[in-house]
Amino acid sequence: MNSGNEILVTGSGIITALGIGKDATWDALVNKRSGIAPVKYLQSSHGEFPVGEVKLSNEEMRALLHIRPSTTTVRSSLLGIIALEEALEEAGIKPSYAKERVALISGITVGGMDQTELVYQKLFETETYNDYIDLNDCGGCTEQIADYFNGFSSVSTIVTACSSAANALIMASNMLKTGEADIVVAGGCECLSIYHFNGFHTLMILDNELCKPFDQHRKGINLGEGAAYLVLETTEHAVKRGATSRGKLAGACNACDAFHLTASSPNGIGPYLAMKGAIENAGLKPSAIDYINAHGTGTPNNDLTEGIACMRLFDKVPPIASIKAFTGHTTSAAGAVEGVISLLALENNYMPVNLNFSQQMEELNFSPVSNPLPKKPLKYILSNSFGFGGNDSSIIFASNK
């Protein structure tokens, strides 16, 4: 690819169960400190399932953001704003002052359901909760995030469940390559809600203990919440405005499993095509991948399918790990949360480990990285996000070097 047209990451921000910001996140990862704990804020009766909750109440987040008590907010937007603030600050951008076209693309699936589900009956009985109506749908949440900053030239919302943020990053890359925007901020946000907590529960894919990705005895997911955004621009543009590159989005691909709405196919065609496509899109061979940030949710189905797809694609599967036992499954935000973590890994030449692993899966010929490996220069990381409906996305992040 023409080096003036590479896609650079010039800023990023993150908030998860591990804490606010990249420093807190990285500190937890390196010290193997999981953020998964018993439910604290979510008002669900299923207290037996541990979750990756952000350790802040809505009131505390509003205070951090200086949002007046009279302003109606939803939790996903608050998470999104916090992460976006860190990203924009690092990139040195204030969209409301920018002369360039700064677009926002955000992935989310629950929308404002965390509030809607609490006030649902009252929405019909009184006029007091009408503000929540425009915040219920997914686009309404993204607009609340956008309006906190003002100045975005366009605002889009992608909803493909667990691959939403990854697809936002892919679209951002496409917009930049076609000159449709000068800077694109892409990522995703998602808070816990009783609605989807119960949804995952009825699908019987939650683990009532800490999840064990890629383990023979894995039982399911620990649901999480969070947000992350990446500021993307071409090399040419970054150089022109004197922005610093934190890493690159070197390749990406989205493919569809087209098998079933919630289960992944036995042969993993969707994940295989996504990973293969991303590697080809980056102009690489599979052997160039130093580390795979797996989707690795810990469900019997996903980890098997993803594992089989990896074995199909790679002669020797490179070091691979899921960080979902650290953050929980951040669903719509996962692609960006794990993108930020992948970039941190590249910057620090350290591969985050796969927690809670003890026994290799009998169908696979590899085990995940469960203990820290010696530091070595990392150049390319492949990050997977596979969503409901067989929506499979893979992104290659590259270091600056």
């Binding site: 009766s45 299923h46 926002l104 699936t109 929308g111 809607t116 589900e117 649902y120 009956q121 929405l123 019909f124 009408n130 109506i133 425009d134 219920n136 749908d137 997914c138 686009g139 309404g140 993204t142 607009e143 956008a146 030239s153 366009s154 605002v155 889009s156 919302t157 992608i158 909803v159 493909t160 469940a161 697809n167 679209m171 496409n174 917009m175 076609t178 000159g179 449709e180 009783i194 609605y195 989807h196 119960n198 949804g199 529960h201 009825t202 699908l203 989205n254 493919a255 569809c256 087209a258 098998f259 079933h260 709405l261 919630t262 969707g270 095509l273 409901f388 409906g389 067989g390 929506n391």
Partner: protein, 351 residues
Amino acid sequence: MSNRLAFIQGAAHISIQNPLSDEWFDAPLRYHQLLVPTIDPKFSDYLPPLVSRRMCNLIRRAVITSRVALNEAHIEVPDAIISGTGLGCIGNTEKFLNAINENGEEMLPPSYFMQSTHNVLSSSIAIDLKCHCYNNTFVHRGTSFEQALYDTTLILNQESIHNVLVGGFDEMTSKYFELMAKAGYWKRVEEGFDEEQPCFAGEVAASFVVSDKKTPQTTCCIEGIKLLYKPSVATFNKTINQLLAKSEHTPADVELLLTGINGNVKNDTVYRQLGLSLFDANICNTYKDLFGESFTAPAMGLYALSRCYAKKTVPPYWHSKNSSFGEKGKVSLILNHWNGKSCSIILLSGC
């Protein structure tokens, strides 16, 4: 949409007008009620019961219109599937939510949850067509469909993508209608249909095959599409002019304008500021009086206009500058906004 033009090769709708047909053109059904449901075809004519049993009606409409559009375009499997929807299968979302409220988080039906994730539409289409290609879903209020169409034009720049199946799909329940009435989008049930402010809610299912080259099936060309967020009037008008200039046209070449004017005062006022000042009022036409208001109503606007290009004429109740429609050198515009925040501009021409 920097490099490539895009061509509509096939299209189909199931809406509040007679489905999978163009009877709306000469003899549209006219409604004087606040919420108008879809006129569905006989689903079993298209989908065997065991296939469609778990599909809610919106998914059935999405799958069927996709098949019909592909058939019209003479394409078997597209290279990408992209959907826009404002609320997804909201009926199922409500059912799952009600089940939680009634059963207290126990014994909940998984199917409703599964279908309430908005990308169930794009996924169901992909499963039906066995399509492993790029698959995406946009959920952004009144520009959900245009965002899907915009993504279509982005990915058509890729070498391996030639035909994209893109659609707009929305259903409306009586409960959600009530909420949106409270939010001011249309009159409340107790206020009744108002002939002076005749905005009413409809439902949408429209699928298009959009390709990177012209074929004998092509009806019209998408010369450009732009998304804007909270633009000033100056920016909005400047963007229209830029789109026109890029395709080597001027405002004088615009022979027809389609806007989202729907009879709701707050909505309509914004249109009178945005863009209309550039053009004669007598070429401004509406489509929401035919197809109702909905987050993805613009998909029906595009559908209707693409059919005008196919017929080389406009319906008797619309006005364009020239008696013959879609001649070389002439273009039309579809302008849309939701709440004055998320806006879109689509530039079309005949082929």
